[in-house]
């Protein structure tokens, strides 16, 4: 508790300083453990580090090599495909489920945790189950055929061109419920009076959603976008658990690339260079968002 009996001057001064003192440890921690480490990584990306960090500068060599490595291209293209589909589909499904759940649904209390729970599980836990379900010999394809739908085919996970889409499916499974929760919270926060008034003016349901409700959900859209894009860029467990980058190297993503090069292939310099590129991508998405968000709110 704050001190109550000391001199007024001291007390006021203390009160002025307290907020900063309380915030200071977090700030110091961030500066060291986040920005210090980022600086370290940037430095590493210009060194010839292989197994352990070394401090011999080699200029842009790591970046040059990075862009000559075929898997890096694959990884970047995959991320683009994955991130865009993942964000769009999760948002659509999340929004749809939220709107449906918002219709005074019986059993909402039971349905909500069912939609939400995948977010609670790590892919170390669910990866094998997904691998099996998508495996044509034992999973969905085999089951449907057993039930008599002989021509049913679903073998994307074995197909170099399609495997990345199976990762999208599993990722959507994991996060769309969470997106649903964010939209549901947004919907529940909308003032009913406005809706009633609009209805009185003869607006149809579709019009109400398009003109009034969706625009009010803008903050939820933004939060969903930010959370989903950071999950997409960081996605590592997912790929490792489901395909381990295969078939071939067709499902590599930048996070996988970075881990592989830094820790498995003893090319820490190239790994660091790929991390820097990833960080710059994150910054490119996040900084404008943070800027807009923080300026607006002051």
């Amino acid at each position: 508790m704050a001190m109550t009996d000391s001199g007024t001057d001291f007390r006021t001064r203390m009160q002025n300083w307290l907020p900063k003192i309380v915030l200071a440890p977090s700030f110091a921690i961030m500066v060291i453990f986040v920005y210090g480490f980022i600086a370290f990584t940037i430095y590493l990306s210009f060194t010839g580090s292989r197994m352990l960090p070394t401090f011999d500068l080699v200029g842009w060599q790591n970046y040059e090599r990075l862009f000559r490595v075929r898997q890096w291209d694959t990884a970047v293209v995959n991320l683009a495909i994955f991130a865009s589909l993942y964000i769009v589909i999760s948002t659509i499904i999340g929004l749809m489920l939220a709107i449906f759940l918002d219709q005074k649904i019986r059993g909402e209390g039971a349905l909500r945790p069912i939609f939400l729970y995948p977010m609670a599980l790590s892919f170390i836990v669910t990866g094998t189950a997904w691998k099996w379900m998508l495996d044509p010999a034992i999973g969905l394809e085999a089951t449907f055929r057993m039930w008599g739908w002989e021509s049913f085919t679903f073998d994307w996970i074995k197909d170099s061109d399609m495997a990345i889409y199976t990762i999208v499916i599993a990722a959507v499974w994991q996060s769309s419920g969470f997106v649903m929760a964010m939209f549901l919270a947004g919907l529940r926060g909308i003032d009913n009076e406005i809706l009633k008034a609009a209805q009185m003016d003869g607006a149809s349901n579709v019009q109400m959603y398009r003109r009034i409700i969706l625009p009010q959900l803008r903050p939820a859209f933004l939060s969903a976008f930010v959370i989903l894009s950071h999950l997409a860029i960081k996605s590592y467990d997912l790929v490792v658990a489901m395909t381990d980058g295969g078939p071939g190297t067709s499902t590599w993503m930048p996070a996988v690339f970075m881990y592989e090069y830094t820790f498995t292939r003893n090319q820490m310099g190239i790994g660091a260079a790929s991390a820097v590129i990833m960080l710059m991508t994150v910054a490119a998405i996040m900084v404008p968002y943070l800027y807009a968000e923080l300026r607006e709110k002051k």
Binding site: R11, K20, F40, F100, S122, M133, G189, K234, M278, L290
Partner: protein, 293 residues
């Protein structure tokens, strides 16, 4: 998309409602399928699984895999099962969640109610830290834990999780407190209440929903973390996910899939429980501020 309407405000036709229910049910199946498969296979003898029927129901039900995963499966050289590691995870997650939530709450309070120059920048810096790929911190973090002499211990792991949990916990509390009437704080100040008194008497009592959201989020992330656990606390202090990985991922040994699935469900049980028990606070807490921006 089917035509729908907002609650209280309007009606929907019978056909629409049937469609909505059907869609919701189909999606429930989609969400439940992986868990269902894990459950079914954890109750089968191994021969039924390698024999091919991975999606079929067990012909012969058995709880043997569960017993084995809990208390006798080989995690390291000793057949300990997952039990001791479960305790490690609790000893790691509980303090880490509490500490990061407390720090987040104080930070959120300072950032919204005690404006000072640069506060926004500090928040921006904190927030950006949520988005760094954690792989890059492994090596420098290892060095620091070594200097502090807490490498390979639960303490070290708690420190790591607190450090990288502050960003999100601050984000949650800051957005929540931003919607909290500042007039109340000012009034209390005029009445002579101090910094911590205001926090303790005014802010905290109304923070229930956001504490729930923050704890759920942190607990899920910390409990499920593998990368930090494996890198900084392997061996005796290893958390559940690392032990599960040891169980599931042996490279050149015989694989007992049924035991793996039983272990996986065990590892997931605490977070599942948290979501089911506290799930409704989650939406309520999100509603109360964190997405309203």
């Amino acid at each position: 998309m089917a035509v729908a309407s907002n609650e209280n405000a309007m009606r929907t036709s019978r056909v629409t409602r049937v469609l909505i229910y059907v869609t919701l049910l189909v999606f429930s199946l989609f969400y439940l399928l992986p868990l269902g498969i894990m459950l079914i296979n954890s109750l089968k003898p191994l021969s039924e699984i390698t024999g091919g029927g991975m999606i079929a129901l067990p012909q012969q039900w058995t709880i043997e895999p569960w017993l084995s995963a809990w208390s006798s499966a080989q995690i390291g050289v000793e057949p300990t099962g997952l039990r001791p590691y479960f305790m490690n995870s609790i000893a790691m997650a509980v303090p880490a969640v509490i500490i990061s939530t407390v720090i987040g709450a104080l930070n959120g309070y300072v950032l919204t109610k005690w404006h000072f120059r640069g506060a926004t920048i500090v928040f921006g810096l904190l927030l950006f830290s949520c988005f760094i790929p954690f792989q890059i911190v492994l090596i420098p973090m290892a060095r620091i834990l070594g200097i502090l002499e807490i490498a390979g211990t639960t303490y070290g792991l708690i420190l790591v999780h607190v450090v990288y949990g502050i960003g999100f916990s601050t984000l949650y509390f800051r957005n929540y407190y931003a919607a909290f009437p500042t007039e109340l704080v000012r009034a209390a100040q005029i009445d002579g209440a101090g910094f911590f008194q205001i926090f303790w008497r005014i802010m905290l009592p109304s923070s229930g929903p956001i504490i729930a959201v923050c704890c759920i989020w942190q607990f899920t992330n910390i409990w499920n973390d593998f990368l930090f656990g494996a890198s900084f606390a392997s061996g005796g202090a290893a958390p559940m996910t690392v032990a599960l990985n040891n169980l599931v991922n042996s490279s050149t040994g015989v694989r007992e899939y049924n035991v793996h699935f039983a272990g996986a469900i065990m590892a997931a049980a605490p977070t599942l429980l948290v979501y089911i028990v506290a799930g409704r606070y989650f939406v309520r807490g999100l509603m109360a501020g964190s997405v309203k921006g």
